[in-house]
């Protein structure tokens, strides 16, 4: 039988949750304000790297996404509507995985394969090809699970497992490039295989930190509203009962 968490433990968890929420809020503000201040770079990313050709859709994304990020950052910082914010986090993470996964998988998975190869993770062609073939579609799969709200914590755990090593190899590659080219770390810009083309490394690291924090947030049981089946091994009601106190404690 598990011992009930002590008041001290609960207090520590509350503080950790609060700090994580503030950090996420700050990062969303940073990303949103960055796009608002540099609209041309974001427009280029949407039209050229993400290849969104429809002018109405691309304009809609370019004009609304930066402000939505700012707004979401403020919501997280203020602590209002935390359940709704967690659902938005789940959908946002899902959207990123689906879009980036499809962008890697179609129409030229070979391009992604070449990008994976630059990290020299494996030498065997079969292993390299397996990573190049499966990873983009696996991202899409996790994205769909998060979007529908199925096995949310399992999908979030896989998201963390993908993001941590990927962020480390991207960081190592960026450090290598900075040393070889003799340029400041944040001036390093390359296609890391993230699905968004060439990006500045510091910006990429901030983005990955946001994705990691969102995944960790969902892993703790947030984002349960509007789920088809939050947990595969528990009924939805039980899962929500389990997580509701945590939501209340974090508030």
């Amino acid at each position: 039988m598990k011992a009930a968490p002590s008041a001290g433990d609960k207090h520590s968890l509350d503080i950790a949750a609060l700090l994580a929420r503030w950090l996420l809020g700050g990062l969303f503000l940073y990303l949103g304000v960055g796009k608002v201040l540099h609209p041309a770079e974001f427009a280029k990313l949407v039209r050229e790297e993400l290849a969104i050709a429809n002018p109405f859709l691309s304009s809609l994304i370019i004009t609304t996404v930066p402000w939505l990020e700012v707004l979401y950052g403020l919501v997280l910082l203020s602590g209002i509507a935390k359940n709704a914010a967690a659902v938005v986090a789940r959908w946002w993470l899902a959207g990123v995985f689906i879009v980036m996964g499809l962008h890697k998988a179609l129409p030229h998975p070979q391009a992604f394969l070449s990008l994976v190869r630059q990290y020299h993770l494996v030498t065997s062609p079969i292993l390299l090809n397996s990573i190049g073939a499966a990873l983009p579609w696996f991202e899409v799969f996790c994205g769909l699970l998060l979007l529908a709200g199925v096995a949310v914590r399992g999908a979030a755990l896989n998201s963390v497992v993908m993001l941590v090593p990927f962020t480390i190899v991207v960081l190592k590659e960026a450090l290598r490039r900075a040393a070889v080219e003799g340029i400041p770390f944040c001036a390093v810009k390359f296609d890391c295989g993230c699905g968004a083309g060439k990006v500045f490394i510091c910006h990429k690291l901030v983005e990955n930190t946001v994705l990691l924090l969102l995944s960790a947030w969902l892993l703790t049981g947030r984002g349960w509203p509007l789920c088809l089946r939050f947990s595969l091994f528990q009924e939805k009601k039980a899962a929500s009962d389990l997580t509701k106190p945590a939501e209340q404690a974090a508030s």
Partner: protein, 216 residues
């Protein structure tokens, strides 16, 4: 915690199986057993790269061009600079396919612009492109492979693939290190759409470059 780990493992297993199935069903699947980078083995196992004095010097200087040259030599390939490539382009033998250019980029890039008259060979889909290049590769006296330049190494792997499968003497094979990016930035003409479409661009810049004594 245990439940989360179990759920994560289940998601990983089902996801991996579905991901491999999705790859198999996609329009351009990756073949798991195929070696898409045949040059890697040669370059990594070749002790010549480390022992050869010239190559060692190249590694010390860390110049990207010298490193590229050393890597190409390790793979039995020759580096061609912009002047050599421009000479090949003006070579009269090009009219009879005695000197040929081979574009190793994907379809999208090729259609958006390629060196006039260049053959297209996407090494990731050799079955679609081999029939167009087999005969001309066997009769050409010189062949220049290129991709985008910079970090792109598709031209090297395409050259190795064709050279080894068709038994082309290595003396005939050149890699244009600067690639299509350098070609266009030098103001040289390029062709849009299909091979020999005649839809040329950059002609005005090319004429100006020639007057100013551009790449010879």
């Amino acid at each position: 915690m245990k439940t989360v780990l179990q759920e994560g493992a289940l998601v990983a297993v089902i996801g991996a199986a579905l991901a491999l199935a999705a790859n198999a069903l996609s329009p351009h699947p990756l073949e798991l057993t195929k070696d898409y980078f045949p040059g890697d083995k040669v370059a990594s196992r070749s002790p010549a790269v480390a022992t050869n004095a010239t190559n060692a010097a190249a590694i010390i200087t860390n110049s990207p061009l010298e490193l590229l040259s050393a890597r190409l030599r390790a793979n039995g390939l020759q580096l061609a600079d912009s002047n050599q490539v421009a000479r090949c382009f003006r070579d009269p033998r090009r009219e009879q396919d005695g000197v040929i250019f081979i574009d190793a980029r994907d379809e999208e890039h090729y259609v958006a612009g390629h060196i006039p008259g260049a053959f297209h060979f996407d090494r990731f889909r050799p079955q679609d492109y081999l029939p167009n290049v087999v005969q001309v590769c066997q009769t050409a006296e010189q062949m220049v492979f290129y991709c985008n330049g910079g970090e792109c190494d598709d031209s090297e792997h395409a050259a190795i693939m064709l050279r080894d499968s068709l038994g082309i003497p290595k003396e005939k094979v050149f890699i244009y290190g600067g690639g299509f990016t350098e070609w266009t930035s030098n103001g040289l003409p390029y062709e849009l759409g299909a091979r020999n479409s005649g839809d040329l661009t950059n002609m005005v810049k090319a004429a100006a470059s020639a007057k100013a004594g551009g790449p010879k």
